[in-house]
Symmetry: C3
Subunit: 137 residues, 3 copies
Amino acid sequence: MKSHTYYHYFNTRTKREFIRITDLVEEQIRESGVKEGFCLVSAMHITAAVYVNDDEPGLFRDIEEWLQKLAPEGPNYHHHQTGETNGDAHLKNLLMHHQVILPVTNGRLDLGPWQQIFYAEFDGKRKKRMIIKVIGE
Amino acid sequence: MKSHTYYHYFNTRTKREFIRITDLVEEQIRESGVKEGFCLVSAMHITAAVYVNDDEPGLFRDIEEWLQKLAPEGPNYHHHQTGETNGDAHLKNLLMHHQVILPVTNGRLDLGPWQQIFYAEFDGKRKKRMIIKVIGE
Amino acid sequence: MKSHTYYHYFNTRTKREFIRITDLVEEQIRESGVKEGFCLVSAMHITAAVYVNDDEPGLFRDIEEWLQKLAPEGPNYHHHQTGETNGDAHLKNLLMHHQVILPVTNGRLDLGPWQQIFYAEFDGKRKKRMIIKVIGE
């Protein structure tokens, strides 16, 4: 069994941002030498997400507006009694999830034609880390 | 390490549909010869989900009504400026997620007594693909 | 390839409860002898979740209030025609998801500084089961 671990850092200019990482993940799969296996892509913070969907700017706006509706920013979180102000970002993380597992087949990401991988930042403007880990043969 | 990859196609008669796929997944695990490992079941489209829950018709209606409430159909998605009309199906996919990872133990799906695996279509009436991939030993 | 499977039982005193399980998972990773691989932690019931987020009591209250808002308790679920009364717990499970996949690096859980693993019970006061499965080398 082969395994390969890579850490990637983000430092977004805005609080919320959607970053396409498909090529970055593909590159680490090549690096791993794994032909058949799984690739885990996981945010190492609790206010960011990793997800698979369409690379379409209108959809990014839809997703952001949707997340603001279901997990709104605002002062009324118990979590804010700790001095934090990012209660909404924790809930956005739970809604979108922090990880995906991707199939690796013939040494390539085995995704459908419209599937792209994204890192979604919900509390940015600071250094955040993400792990890409490939296991297989 | 063994690996086994299988692609399954759906072409639902209705726009939204819940399809139980537990037996299909179990069959591919047998096919793989894997005794101990993981099985990934993942939609290869961005408007369908794979999830684990109860096989109960009343619950399917509850889930559909719930998804319509939290991610409603309608004209007001930025994504629709591309000519698409399925903005809601993208959000339903994000809410339900496109994949599950299942434990394989003693050559069997290692699920609880009520856990069944489902493919949930949110934008059907056309050919859609799903991957089942098993790795282990 | 090594694999290790462990079942853990919960019997919560209250209907809903958040239980930190990071140490329990770390212990099973040590037990497995796996240095590089993946660890699956998955509820074996359809009314409980496993998730990764912050270990902060205010946030537990925020999450519970949020779940009650998005997937409220109440009599109006079709599922209740079966005699069940836990329709909301099924939807809470779908929202939070029943599983996480965790990276194992150098024989340790490879998590960020604030990432803690939780079992979230939504229909407790009875025996429930969770699986921890590690594969790797």
